[in-house]
């Protein structure tokens, strides 16, 4: 008996090609692990649900950020300029200037707010009506509200702002982009926070799956001992547990994907209603195919890592006695 080559002892065994044997083994092991999951449907479902919720939360929050980004990106180019004209300019001169600016290609529309209209509006809204009545003359200038065309880039917007400011009739050009930039900065911070939370939740999933596999290993201790006793390697006894981890991860992330999609479905109508109110073409951005696949991939990876940790840690300790 040549002990160095184990194939000698089982000499008449015809091995059907290393690769196909490897493949067949994995297929049958994976099906076996799947069967085990289904034989304990309640316990399996609980674990899958926990994984799904844990994955769905960061995925959904990411989607919210993505949508907020896309909506606010739209605002960037839809900002109006307020061009306060020199005082002493007549209403007809202001109207002429408005028509002139209107002809620019990078301007969508121009609206003239006359000094008297502005004063009236200010009186109504400020509550200083009576005090303002004491003024002998209107302190407010005529104002042009210039809406840039949506085709503008942020650079051409700056150019437009400069050119409007350089007009001799213009006093001050005001554009409030700062709050949009602040909003974006806040979104970036929230995004970072979500990434950190997602990483922590990922660790939680590894622990959950690892613990489940650990219990599974303990329950099957005798089986592992017996198979090791008749010559199973660590890799052989580990394989079904890795497959369990794979299935937990895959089912968990699939369910997470389903939860996110269902959430989007629920939000579709309210968003459409809101968009209708603002007369905007805003619609909800769903997960792209790549994002969906990476969610599934992350689930599977976490499942494998969790089960690997548990298997590597506990399998070695189980030796035949």
């Amino acid at each position: 008996m040549a002990v160095t080559r184990h194939s000698d002892a089982v000499a008449p065994v015809r091995s059907a090609g290393a690769l196909s044997t490897w493949f067949t083994r994995h297929v049958s092991t994976s099906i076996g692990s799947l069967g085990r999951l289904f034989r304990q449907p309640f316990a399996s479902l609980m674990i899958i649900l926990v994984i799904a919720v844990t994955l769905a939360i960061p995925a959904a929050l990411n989607l919210v950020i993505k949508n907020a980004r896309s909506v606010s990106d739209g605002w960037d180019n839809a900002l109006d300029f307020s061009v306060y004209l020199q005082r002493g300019l007549s209403e007809s001169e202001a109207q002429g200037l408005a028509r002139l600016i209107q002809q620019r290609a990078d301007v969508e529309s121009v609206q003239l707010v006359t000094a008297s209209e502005a004063l009236l509006e200010f009186k109504q809204q400020s509550g200083f009506g009576e005090a303002l009545d004491q003024l002998s003359e209107n302190p407010l200038p005529h104002t042009l509200v210039v809406r840039p065309s949506p085709a503008n880039t942020s650079q051409s917007m700056i150019l437009l702002q400069e050119e409007l400011g350089n007009l001799p009739e213009a006093d001050v050009v005001q554009v409030d982009t700062e709050w949009v930039q602040r909003f974006h900065a806040i979104l970036d911070i929230v995004k970072q926070a979500i990434a950190i939370a997602a990483a922590l939740l990922g660790v939680a999933i590894i622990v959950i799956i690892g613990n489940t596999i650990r219990l599974d290993i303990q329950n099957r201790r005798e089986e592992i001992e017996v198979t090791k006793l008749i010559g199973a390697s660590n890799a052989f006894v580990r394989r079904p547990f890795l497959w369990s981890g794979f299935w937990y991860g895959l089912f968990g992330s699939s369910l997470a994907l389903g939860l996110v999609q269902y959430g989007l479905f629920l939000l579709e109508q309210p968003v459409a209603r809101l968009a209708g109110l603002y007369q905007s073409g805003v619609s909800v951005l769903a997960l792209t195919l790549a994002e969906s696949l990476s969610l599934l991939g992350i689930g599977v990876l976490l499942g494998l890592v969790g089960s690997w940790f548990a298997a590597a840690r506990h399998m070695r300790r189980i030796e035949p006695r």
């Binding site: 008996m1 040549a2 002990v3 160095t4 184990h6 000698d8 002892a9 089982v10 000499a11 008449p12 065994v13 015809r14 091995s15 059907a16 044997t21 490897w22 067949t24 083994r25 005798e222 089986e223 017996v226 198979t227 090791k228 006793l229 008749i230 010559g231 199973a232 390697s233 660590n234 052989f236 030796e319 035949p320 006695r321």
Partner: protein, 227 residues
Amino acid sequence: MMIQLDDVTKRFPGGQEAISGLTLSIDKGDMVFVTGHSGAGKSTLLRLIALIERPTSGQVIVGGQNTRRVKRRKIPAYRRQIGMVFQDHKLLYDRPVSENVALPLVIAGVSHREAARRVRAALDQVGLLHKEKQNPETLSAGEQQRVGIARAIVTRPKLLIADEPTGNLDPDLSLEVMRIFRRFNEVGVTLLIASHDLALIDRMGCSRIELADGKLVVEEEEDHAWQ
């Protein structure tokens, strides 16, 4: 030489010696019984051969291979060459008889069709072909032990070791198990069987090694009177 022990000592952490300075050899094709009171070192001897234990000192050489040189990683491959039968059968009760017998072939990566054929052949040899689909739990102790034997021989090992294989069986069933062992021996399998059933061993007329306190006390050659 199939098995050779050279001044082997196995000392357990408590300090007591299960095997002390044991030297013996078993030829290829032999069928040898190991006897002795419980605690005499029978099981430890088998466990040293199966590499469940490592000797504290001395050499254990099985099939020309010094077990000392078998690395931990290589133990599974080493064990796959030895058929092992246990007193408590060590069957898995969550699967039918046929899958229990097929387990060593699955571990060895034998194709499905080949495995099925061999499982049937092994079960036929122990007379349990008609029970292949049953759960081992539904079988009697003797039948369960025969399933264990079928599993041990399904890979056609050249060495079979059995630890008290008839320990839980009545005399008739014990004799039946021994007859199965004898048939394997006739086709060239080397057998090492630990047992304390002296009456049965006398009937078999095989070589016998008696241990006491981990030492060899009697070595009897084969008695060909047995038929």
